[in-house]
């Protein structure tokens, strides 16, 4: 960029301005687009290099299918709960008549918590809800409630759900508070003047306006959970059968015994998170029209 010619001297009509983003394009190609293309192309290649659908067909085994199903369930449930709880907390702060001082710390904390994912988060939950965790022991000694006997195991599907909520809820709060702020007082007043009840206002005015950003955030949370590796790996080790963990094991040691099947597994992940994010981006551009 610094040695790009000064535009004053350019008389040719060659689109030299495009040279300015050349470093960025080169970076994006080398470290984002080409690596992804390599995976996508690999998913449609046979071991000898020919074109094939066989890898995608081979994904349809019991173990891989159940990994996808568990992953999708995990992402759906944490996204639904994350949205619901995050929305409840955000609307408590925005509409509940709480003092203004609550808001800043909640937003700051949400920023921290949504970034506190991965290995340390798993440790925090093991220390709290694990077999010797604070809450587990407290429930046992004070109330005689044995979480394990009740079927709760942190190192299982539902344990993962609870742990993922620690970063899903704050992400929802961070995104939805600005959206709730965007609901104009005038709309509520106009609805009241026309005789609407509170429930009617929510059902017929507020929710339809918020709907795109709610659904959009839902898609983002879904993709966020679907691609997460570190938290699950630190919590359950390589056993739990979800797609990111399976892919992790495959990259490390070709556990599927077929490199191209690994590409197909990764391609399935791109497809699912890609779809979730397309929904997010489309709905966000729609909702931004209202939130000026």
């Amino acid at each position: 960029m610094p040695d790009a010619p000064s535009p004053v001297r350019i008389k040719r009509r060659l689109p030299l301005e495009w040279l300015g983003i050349l470093p960025f394009v080169a970076f994006a190609l080398m470290f984002l687009i080409l690596p992804t293309m390599k995976i996508v192309i690999g998913a449609f290649q046979s071991p000898d290099g020919g074109f094939t659908f066989q890898n995608l067909i081979d994904l349809n085994t019991d173990s891989i299918r159940s990994a996808y199903i568990t992953s999708i369930e995990l992402s759906l449930i944490t996204a639904i709960l994350g949205c619901a709880v995050g929305f409840a907390m955000a609307s408590a702060v925005v509409f509940g008549g709480l003092p203004k001082r609550v808001r800043g710390p909640l937003l700051t904390f949400s920023g921290v918590a949504s970034n506190f994912a991965g290995v340390p988060l798993a440790f925090a939950f093991i220390a709290t809800l694990g077999p010797a965790g604070l809450v587990t022991l407290w429930l046992k000694t004070e109330f005689g409630i044995n979480l394990r006997a009740m079927g709760f195991n942190l190192l299982s599907f539902w344990g993962l759900v609870v742990t993922y909520l620690f970063f899903q809820i704050p992400l929802m709060i961070l995104i939805i508070i600005p959206a709730l702020d965007g609901l104009k007082r005038e709309w509520r007043e106009a609805a009241q003047v026309l005789g609407a009840t509170g429930a009617q206002y929510w059902r017929m005015v507020a929710l339809p306006i918020l709907f795109p950003s709610l659904l959009g955030t839902f898609a983002l949370l879904f993709a966020n959970a679907f691609g997460a590796v570190a938290t699950a790996f630190a919590l359950t080790g390589p056993q739990l059968n979800i797609v990111p963990i399976k892919l992790f094991a495959q990259i490390r040691g070709d556990v599927l015994g077929n490199p191209n099947l690994g590409y197909a597994l990764a391609f399935g992940m791109i497809l699912i998170t890609g779809l979730a994010n397309v929904i997010y981006i489309v709905l966000r551009t729609r909702s931004e029209r209202w939130l000026k």
Binding site: F24, T36, M89, T108, A127, T128, F166, A230, F233, T273
Partner: protein, 260 residues
């Protein structure tokens, strides 16, 4: 009534967030039987691998931030000044790392830059470090680009550029001495967020087999009882510190602007 309900929702929500934090802190202090002590922290700090991996990740974070700033600031500036028609494409690319899971990106790296390829980056330690830095720059790209682009929106890029040019400044001077100081708040916010992301990152470092802090934490977690929660407390403090610094620089710059 409504206010009571709002308080109930907020307090029970906060309880969910506080319990794991209390849990990890309490557990990390329990190493010595019967009394609270900092033994687990002493163990962690005495472990040479802690300092090795931590400084490795810190170095990589610094490299990522420097590279990210050098890449993003000129690009965002140039797009605003000369190539507004390229904006949608650039923005789309910067959002891609949110769409493609990190594990897939690093899978691509391993297959694209292996020892039998044209650019065998994974063949040497330095090459792998470079690859990992590029991977982290990719992960941080959405946040860095958005921060810098928002910063550029608040200043008049075209006028500043023309003013600098009429005073005889070249492109390097314009970027380094006019544009960069003006978007410093945004750059610092992006930098601290990058630090928070990179310092404990696990997936990419583990799969590229580099001695970073994230894989070290995971390894300790699989073998020890009391050190992992101590590490969690440290990691949480770092994340909190990064977010605090972001707030600080933002508030500081608002203050400056209000005075001006």
């Amino acid at each position: 009534m409504k206010r009571l309900f709002a308080w109930a929702v907020l307090v029970s929500g906060c309880l969910f967030f506080l319990l794991p934090l209390i849990g990890m802190t309490e557990f990390s202090l329990k190493m010595r039987r019967g009394v609270y002590s900092f033994d687990a922290y002493v163990r962690v700090f005495e472990d040479p691998r802690f300092w090795e991996t931590f400084s490795y990740s810190l170095t990589l974070a610094a490299a990522t931030i420097i590279f990210g700033v050098l890449l993003v600031v000129p690009t965002a500036y140039w797009v605003r000044l000369k190539l507004p028609q390229a904006r949608p494409i650039i923005e789309f690319i910067t959002l891609l790392p949110l769409v493609i899971p990190a594990i897939v990106i690093v899978f691509g790296y391993i297959r694209l830059y292996n020892t039998s390829s044209i650019l065998p980056l994974t063949g040497s330690a330095l090459g792998t470090d470079i690859l990992l830095t590029m991977g982290y720059a990719t992960l941080a790209l959405p946040y860095m680009y958005r921060a810098v682009d928002t910063g550029l929106r608040t200043i008049d890029v075209a006028t500043l550029t023309e003013a600098a040019q009429s005073l005889g400044a070249g492109w390097f001077t314009i970027l380094a001495r006019v544009i960069l100081p003006n978007v410093m708040t945004a750059v610092l916010s992006g930098a601290f967020l990058t630090l928070a992301i990179v310092i404990g990152e696990f997936t990419m470092a583990a799969l590229l087999n580099r001695p970073a802090f994230g894989p070290f934490m995971q390894l300790l977690g699989a073998n020890r009882a009391y050190e992992p929660p101590a590490l969690a407390v440290i990691a949480f403090a770092i994340t909190w510190g990064c977010m605090g610094l972001i707030q600080l620089v933002t508030r500081f710059s608002k203050h400056e602007r209000a005075k001006a």
